[in-house]
Structures are given as structure tokens and as C-alpha cells.
């Protein structure tokens, strides 16, 4: 394992130190329990938007703390959900009368830890709700699984719910907006190479020189299916088929298309894949009205991409276009 780190045990805290130094105008970082809080929080009369999860997916979530997006992010150890006390600390630092919404990716650990924190906060008289995002079509949503994973849609959800909270929506409204987004966003990912968890020291899975994990998760969990390497045209089509077939997205729909790098895939390939996705969607009569291309939800150094589609309408478009100023997403400010 070669990484630019000192010690697997301190990698999260040290990375947070870099974030704190680079973005002191945006965030304040607290350690042990680790949580990243927006400068100026709590903001009076504003619903606090909080998310978190295992580290190793940056810029998710810590890079999305700031104006128009998250009030706090709670980074756990690499690929490990944070504990309830860390989430509680983030709630305490950001939440007032207007309450808070916790954005939780659907993994057993995240759900258990965040819901425990929400319960504890409720016991202290705070109005704290959770919304669970589960947009990964690679996983069958059945009683035979822990349910679909939360992946790329989380980025869009945090932006949109963040914009709703920023414009002054009440908790009920932010929550129902969030549930609406969850209902109409879908994703799929592929991996060309595995990530290596620092404390594991070995790649999370082995792939042959001509193999691709289709339907990969963001934790190096092996994908659902292993396929032969294929040209980008075929691969992106396979990904879009999986996503559009699911909701389904149909001719005439307007969508936001996110083409995401899993961390180790450089801009050249991410944009190439994005171009293919735009062409294929146009051929299907699905209109891409907004887009996001780059590394927004990663899996350490894993090579691969994910594609996320969100069905848009005027409200979502307005919320998407609203100003945002975070370490990783910024416009209008």
C-alpha cells in the first residue's frame, strides 16, 4: 500500500486538519468526536442540515459544509459510520428552534448510529428528523438485502435540501423536499480498480486485467456482478440502462445528470463518460437540464465512475441554481 499518509490511525484527523487550514473561512473542525461545523453556526431560525458517514468519500460530506448546503458533517473512520455522540455533537453545534434534518445514507451502521443520535436529541427537546437516501439501483431493494445503498444521489440531496433550508423553509418542508428528491434520484457505479483501506493495507478486492466490477458500492464492497472490460460507449450505456430502467426515467423527462469520478479516475475519462451519457440520453428523448461532472463522492483511490440521474422540475431547478459556497461546490457567491 502506497499512500500519502502518516499512520492509518490518524488519517481522518490529519485530513481534517488540512481541510480546516484550507477553508477556515467556511468551516470549523472539532476533534474527538470529529465533526465539521459551518462557520457562523448555529444560524438563527434556519433548519440545520447535517450529514455524515464513514470517511474516504471526500468531498462528501465534509467538503459540502457551508452556505447553501450542510451546516455540519460528521466524518467517521474510513468506511465506518460515525458514532452517535459525534452526530450529537454536530447537532448541538448547529441546531436551534428550527430543528435539524439528518441526511443518512442507507447502510446498517449509518442508520443505526444516526437514528440513535436523533433519538437522543429528541430526548433533549430538539426537533431532529432523519431522511434516508437509497439511490443505488445496483442493489435489489428487497427483504433479502439491507436495502439499497445511498450513493451519488446524496450529493444532489445535500445541495437541494441545503438550498431549501437556506431560503428559510421550515423543517417539515425541508424534510418533504428531501423525501421527494430521494424518490426521484437513481445511481449506479462501476469500478476498474479497488480502493485500499489504510488500516487494511490490502486492496479491497482483486480484479483481473480485463475485469470491471459493475454495480460497485462506495466502500469497496464488491459489486453485484463482474463483467469484462468494454468500450466506454457500451459501459456507459449499460449503466444508463440500469438507471433509467429503474425509476423509470422516460422520454420527455428533464433530468440532472451527475457523472462522478470514484477518486482515481481523472477528469479526462470522467468527461468522456459524461459526453457519452449526454448523447445516449438525448437519443432517448431525456433532456439533461443540469449537470455535475467530477469527483464528488469517491471511494478512496478507486478507479471508476458513477452516474446519477435526478428527475427535475422547476422547484428543484431553482434550488439547484441557488447560491452555494462550500469547499467542493460553489456558485453564485
Amino acid at each position: 500500500m502506497k499512500k500519502i499518509i502518516n499512520d492509518p490511525a490518524t488519517v481522518v484527523a490529519e485530513s481534517l486538519r488540512g481541510l480546516a487550514a484550507a477553508h477556515a473561512d467556511l468551516v470549523r473542525v472539532e476533534y474527538d468526536p470529529d465533526h465539521v461545523v459551518r462557520v457562523g453556526a448555529p444560524i438563527a431560525d434556519k433548519v440545520a442540515l447535517i450529514s455524515g458517514g464513514g470517511s474516504g468519500h471526500e468531498p462528501l460530506h465534509t467538503g459540502f459544509v457551508g452556505a447553501g448546503m450542510l451546516d455540519a458533517a460528521v466524518p467517521g473512520p474510513v468506511f465506518t459510520s460515525p458514532t452517535p455522540d459525534a452526530v450529537q455533537a454536530a447537532i448541538a453545534a448547529t441546531t436551534g428552534e428550527a430543528g435539524a434534518l439528518l441526511v443518512v445514507k442507507n447502510y446498517t451502521g449509518d442508520v443505526l448510529n444516526f437514528e440513535t443520535a436523533a433519538e437522543l436529541a429528541a430526548a433533549e427537546g430538539l426537533d431532529v428528523r432523519t431522511v434516508v437516501i437509497d439511490d443505488d439501483v445496483a442493489v435489489a431493494d428487497s427483504t433479502f438485502t439491507a436495502g439499497r445503498r445511498g450513493v451519488g444521489g446524496t450529493v444532489l440531496l445535500e445541495k437541494l435540501a441545503g438550498a431549501a433550508a437556506a431560503r428559510g423553509d421550515a423543517l417539515d418542508d425541508v424534510e418533504s423536499l428531501a423525501r421527494k428528491v430521494v424518490g426521484q434520484v437513481r445511481s449506479i457505479g462501476v469500478a476498474l480498480s479497488p480502493p485500499t483501506v489504510p488500516h487494511a493495507g490490502e486492496p479491497s478486492f482483486d480484479l483481473g486485467a480485463q475485469e470491471i466490477e459493475f454495480g460497485i458500492g462506495i466502500h469497496g464492497e464488491p459489486g453485484r456482478e463482474r463483467i469484462s472490460a468494454e468500450p466506454a460507449d457500451a459501459l456507459v450505456e449499460r449503466m444508463l440502462d440500469a438507471v433509467t430502467g429503474d425509476l423509470p426515467f422516460a422520454e420527455g423527462d428533464e433530468v440532472l445528470l451527475m457523472t462522478n469520478s470514484m477518486g482515481g479516475t481523472p477528469p479526462m475519462e470522467t468527461y468522456l463518460a459524461h459526453g457519452i451519457a449526454e448523447r445516449l440520453l438525448a437519443e432517448r428523448g431525456i433532456r439533461v437540464t443540469r449537470r455535475l461532472v467530477g469527483p464528488y463522492i469517491t471511494s478512496l483511490e478507486m478507479q471508476g465512475i458513477s452516474v446519477t440521474l435526478l428527475r427535475m422540475d422547476d422547484e428543484l431547478t431553482q434550488l439547484w441554481d441557488a447560491p452555494v459556497h462550500t469547499a467542493a461546490l460553489r456558485w453564485g457567491i
Binding site: 468506511f79 446498517t108 433479502f144 439491507a146 487494511a200
Partner: protein, 209 residues
């Protein structure tokens, strides 16, 4: 011969030692069908339990288990943190302030622990989770206790059954936790949480002997 508070603390230290010793193995199991952190997660939690105990042991076995519970909840994270944490918490609550754990108390505590895990995680036997180790362990403990076993005998029976239960997860398709995303591809691997449960019970049993 029961376990007093010192013995319980010792058992937790033994559990910590076993987790540390098998950390890499648990990571490897989780790497195969999960996200390669189970060994690291548990080790972080149990190491924290040990350092808490180093600065003072409370008065009752239940109080020691409660410390273990809150430490696991606040240090482990992931799925295992809340699940193991709840297990210890329920056992601690159930045991109240008895000063010594006999075979019956241990069987009762394990039953409470299992109920806690099931309440939180909703897994059934056969879903390839820690429940597949803990559930037969509870049953074996109850049988051993009914047969008049002391704390050592009860824990030893539980440990044996847990080991068998952990092994039984190998041919299963996982239906809960991260391994469930793999569907059929989860077959052929032991569940990390079931394995750590068996390892922990074995360590406790060794101390009780």
C-alpha cells in the same frame, strides 16, 4: 463458582486481547464481503474499554458491562458498534446490581444481549450475521445452565455453539448488513460479526474457567 466484578473486568480484557490478536483476520473476512473495517472497528472499541478499566473498575459486573456498552457505542461506529453496544447494554441492564454472575445470570445476560441485537438489527438466524453465532450460543448457555452448569460451563457451552454458528454462516447467502449487497456472491465466506462473536465468547469462557 461465579464471576465477580474483577473476573468480569478480566474477561473484557481477555476479549480485547483476542480482538487485537485476530484484528487482521477480521479485517480480511470483512474485506471479502464487506468493507474491510470490522477488525479495526472492534479493536478501537475494546482498546478503549481496556483503557477505561485501567483508570478504575466500578463495583458490579453490570456496571462494568455498562461501561463496555457505552464505550462500544461511542467508539466503534459502523454496524457493529450499535449492535455490540446494545448487546452489552441490555445484558448490563438485565443483570442489575448483582455482585457475582453464576451460570443462570450469564445465560440470562446472553439472552438479553441477543434480544438487543435482534431488536436493533432485525436479523434472523440464517441471515449470516452475528445473530447466527449469538443465537445458538444463548440456547446452548440455557441448556448448560438447566443441566446445572456453573458460569464456566455455561460460557464454555456458549462459546462452542457460537463457533459452530459462525462456521455455519459460510454457505449462507447474507441478507442483512453490507454482505447482503453481494447476493449469491456472499456464499463461501464466514460472517465477520459472527466470527468476532465466537472469538469474544471463547475469550470470556477461558477467563471463567
Amino acid at each position: 463458582m461465579g464471576c465477580d466484578v474483577g473476573r468480569v473486568a478480566e474477561a473484557l480484557r481477555a476479549g480485547a486481547a483476542t480482538v487485537a490478536e485476530h484484528k487482521a483476520e477480521l479485517i480480511d473476512l470483512d474485506r471479502a464481503i464487506g468493507d474491510a473495517d470490522h477488525g479495526e472497528n472492534l479493536d478501537r472499541g475494546f482498546a478503549a474499554i481496556v483503557s477505561t478499566l485501567d483508570s478504575g473498575v466500578p463495583e458490579t459486573p453490570g456496571a462494568v458491562l455498562k461501561i463496555a456498552a457505552t464505550t462500544l457505542i461511542s467508539k466503534v461506529g459502523g454496524a457493529a458498534g450499535p449492535l455490540y453496544g446494545t448487546a452489552f447494554l441490555r445484558a448490563a441492564t438485565k443483570l442489575g446490581d448483582v455482585s457475582e454472575l453464576d451460570g443462570a445470570a450469564i445465560a440470562t445476560g446472553l439472552r438479553a444481549a441477543l434480544e438487543g441485537v435482534v431488536t436493533r438489527g432485525k436479523a434472523e438466524v440464517g441471515d449470516a450475521t452475528m445473530v447466527d453465532a449469538l443465537s445458538p450460543a444463548v440456547e446452548a448457555a440455557e441448556r448448560a445452565q438447566a443441566d446445572g452448569g456453573d458460569s464456566a460451563a455455561v460460557l464454555s457451552a456458549a462459546a462452542d455453539a457460537a463457533k459452530e454458528g459462525a462456521d455455519s454462516t459460510v454457505p449462507l447467502v447474507a441478507r442483512k448488513g453490507r454482505a447482503s449487497y453481494l447476493g449469491e456472491r456472499s456464499v463461501g465466506h464466514a460472517d465477520p460479526g459472527a466470527t468476532s462473536t465466537a472469538l469474544l465468547l471463547r475469550a470470556l469462557a477461558e477467563v471463567a474457567r
